[in-house]
Amino acid sequence: MFEFDAFLLARIQFAFTVSFHIIFPAITIGLASYLAVLEGLSLKTRNPDYKILYLFWSKIFAVNFGMGVVSGLVMAYQFGTNWSGFSDFAGSITGPLLTYEVLTAFFLEAGFLGVMLFGWQRVGDKLHFFATCMVALGTILSTFWILASNSWMQTPTGYEIINGQVVPTDWFAVIFNPSFPYRLLHMGVAAFISTAVFVGACAAWHLLKGNKTGPVKKMFSMAMWMLALIAPIQAYIGDIHGLNTLEHQPAKIAAIEGHWDNADGGPSPLILFGFPNMETERTDYAIAIPVLGSLILKHSLVDPIPALKDFPKDERPNSLVVFWSFRIMVALGILMIVQGFYSLGLRKKQRLYDTGWYLKFSLFMGPSGLIAILAGWFTTEVGRQPWVVYGLMKTKDAVSAHSDLQMSISLLCFFIVYSLVFGFGYFYMMRQMKQGPLPADAHDTNSHEISTISGRL
């Protein structure tokens, strides 16, 4: 079934590089806003704990940001090098959206990042806070544009096709295409949740080590508040996003549910577990609850949900992949809601910082947000196949005509480089996180030493 030809290798390379990439921006988006909040609170309350946390997380932010920038650069050029058919066909839409992202977001982040990281002694407190806010704003604008572009590929509107190329006719409809608001909310909140569980895991590690200082407790408390508040909201957003997909990309829903046949015309079951088989057109070993599928997706006891057999064989997304990636995402989401919910109870009992099993659970949940994001993106992207622009261009028509050998070498090259570079990056980030927030006087000593050195020179 799978031949390792240049086309498949190009897809693997894209999936590999974009999966690696998305991890960094997700944390960047969350941390940037977290840092802005910390600095705002520090200015308002003058409580030194906030500044200590700011200095701690800004170092980790810097490493993460650097990796996001370089892995993002690869993405911007890969459209042209490996997907020239797509670039020529849809460049008139995705190109301008990407240009707006660069103009409004990348420059803003890059321009103010220098001041944010290096500018403490060179600008006043308020100006520094402004720089942090601009970096945070940049990350959010970036999310806006890139998701507009991706959503347009999922649910294209506001265009005409002239001479085999997309021509935009209504930019408002292009940007605010039907799936965009849902995807933007879902991904934005996902970035905040991922950061909350990530920050929470770091704090939990220190609490488990007995490092129960004020800043560490504050870190854990803020992360758990965030999680308790927004994890349930995310479940609701996910639900309405799903209903939107049902309306605009029914084949994706059928594949997610592993639902093949509506021949009986009755209500659809919800398949909890099973192995959808694309060859035999059935879901093996299925454990299903009758009628529940219709109830959840159609809010009805009789209407069936879309079935894969309603679509031509060559227009069905791979059900095995999306069935499972979707369930991984949902399962992790439920765990996060549980984690947030329990924090409320423990907080009430004043046991939040010293309940061993809960701290271990929080440590274990550290990467869960990022895994859920990857699983979610696999669901929506694999679920769009065989289309690259839904209904307009098939993925196989988008690829550049590179040889099998060239694509093998380039994939291998990216695999080695990414593992090496981002492996080290991960190692340095972990080391920084293990060090923990240093008390305020440690920073002072540090800068004091440095000024003596430069004085001598």
Binding site: S58, G66, A76, T81, G95, G111, Q121, P168, H402, S447
Partner: protein, 335 residues
């Protein structure tokens, strides 16, 4: 007459490319000359002189790429497909170099040497590949209909390979003269001795390219060596010669700022020379900017943003340079 959006966008892309060459040019140049500096403390100063701004500098190449994608999708798809190999190498080198900025300071002492090498080699390979890309664009591409019809190794010819060395000299000049403005004492004196040598190499490169380009392409030869163009364009080489002489002179007089400004102008003229050779083609030798342009709905939509936002970007970029103005001292705090 209606505004010709294709020309406007070509202008914006040229501007972004020029900003990139100026700004990332000098921070890549620092990596190129770094192998010739021995002490670790001096290497730290060199990296610190650009650490707060390199990321913004590099964003201009992202703008160039994105704007090319949006405004001239045909050029983006053909040129990038044709140059996949050198561009991929460039990206890999940029990855190493970009993370080295952060990792150098976070690394264990035993890792430091590795990330220093990554920074130097990354800068050198990035620059060399960019030079190859420029050379390959001048050389032109085989196109049939709307697709690239040449081979993946078409760029692997002497001219682009030579251009790689030319760009190394150009960025090294920008990097070393930038360091003159940001350093003092022993390091600055060392750099002063670099500049004339690098400039000699650059002059050789410029001369070779100036002779080689018209020899490879009849249309480029006609552009430069027919009347009245010969006289109209004569200022380009003449001014370059004057500026080179001025640079030698100002280095001899130990001026700190003027060598950098001269270097910027020399690089600008070299870039302008290329532009004059290629105009109005965006995919040499045959496809013009008008043939490759996106529909006007795309061009005008992007133009609103560009006209409003680029001045704002320039303003805060300038501010950021202003905040970090002045000499970088040894041992000065990183964040």
């Amino acid at each position: 007459m209606e505004l010709d959006l294709s020309i406007v966008w070509f202008g914006i892309i040229i501007f972004a490319t020029l900003m990139y060459i100026f700004m990332d040019g000098f921070d890549l140049g620092i990596g190129i000359v770094m192998p010739f500096v021995k002490s670790n403390a001096q290497k730290d100063v060199m990296v610190n002189s650009v650490a707060p701004v390199w990321d913004g500098n590099e964003t201009w190449i992202v703008l160039g790429g994105a704007a090319l994608f949006g405004a001239f999708p045909l050029a983006y798809s053909i040129i990038l497909e044709a140059l996949t190999i050198p561009l991929t190498l460039m990206l890999v080198a940029l990855i190493f170099r970009g993370v080295a900025f952060e990792f150098r300071f976070k690394a264990l002492p035993s890792h430091l040497k590795f990330w220093d090498r990554a920074f130097m080699l990354g800068s050198i390979i990035t620059t060399y590949c960019q030079g190859v890309v420029v050379g390959a664009v001048v050389q032109g591409f085989t196109v049939e209909g709307r697709v690239f019809a040449g081979g993946q190794l078409d760029w692997l010819t002497p001219f682009p390979l030579f251009c790689g060395f030319g760009l190394l000299a150009a960025y090294a000049l920008l990097g070393s003269t930038w360091l003159l403005t940001k350093t003092e004492g022993e390091l600055q004196q060392t750099i002063f001795t670099f500049v004339p040598k690098i400039l000699c190499l650059l002059i050789i490169a410029i001369l070779v390219v100036s002779v080689w380009t018209p020899l490879t392409s009849v249309s480029i030869a006609e552009r430069w060596f027919t009347l009245p163009n010969l006289f109209l364009l004569a200022p380009v080489p003449l001014l370059t010669a004057v500026l080179c002489w001025k640079t030698f002179d100002s280095v001899k007089k130990q001026k700190e700022t003027s060598p950098f400004l001269m270097a910027l102008m020399i690089v600008f003229l070299g870039f302008a020379g290329l532009g004059i050779s290629l105009w109005p083609n965006i995919i040499p030798p045959n496809i013009s900017i008008w043939q490759a342009a996106a529909p006007k709905e795309s061009l005008s939509f992007m133009l609103y943003g560009a006209l409003i936002i680029i001045p704002v970007i320039l303003a805060y970029t300038f501010w950021s340079y202003y905040v970090f103005a002045g000499k970088v001292k040894e041992g000065e705090a990183y964040h």
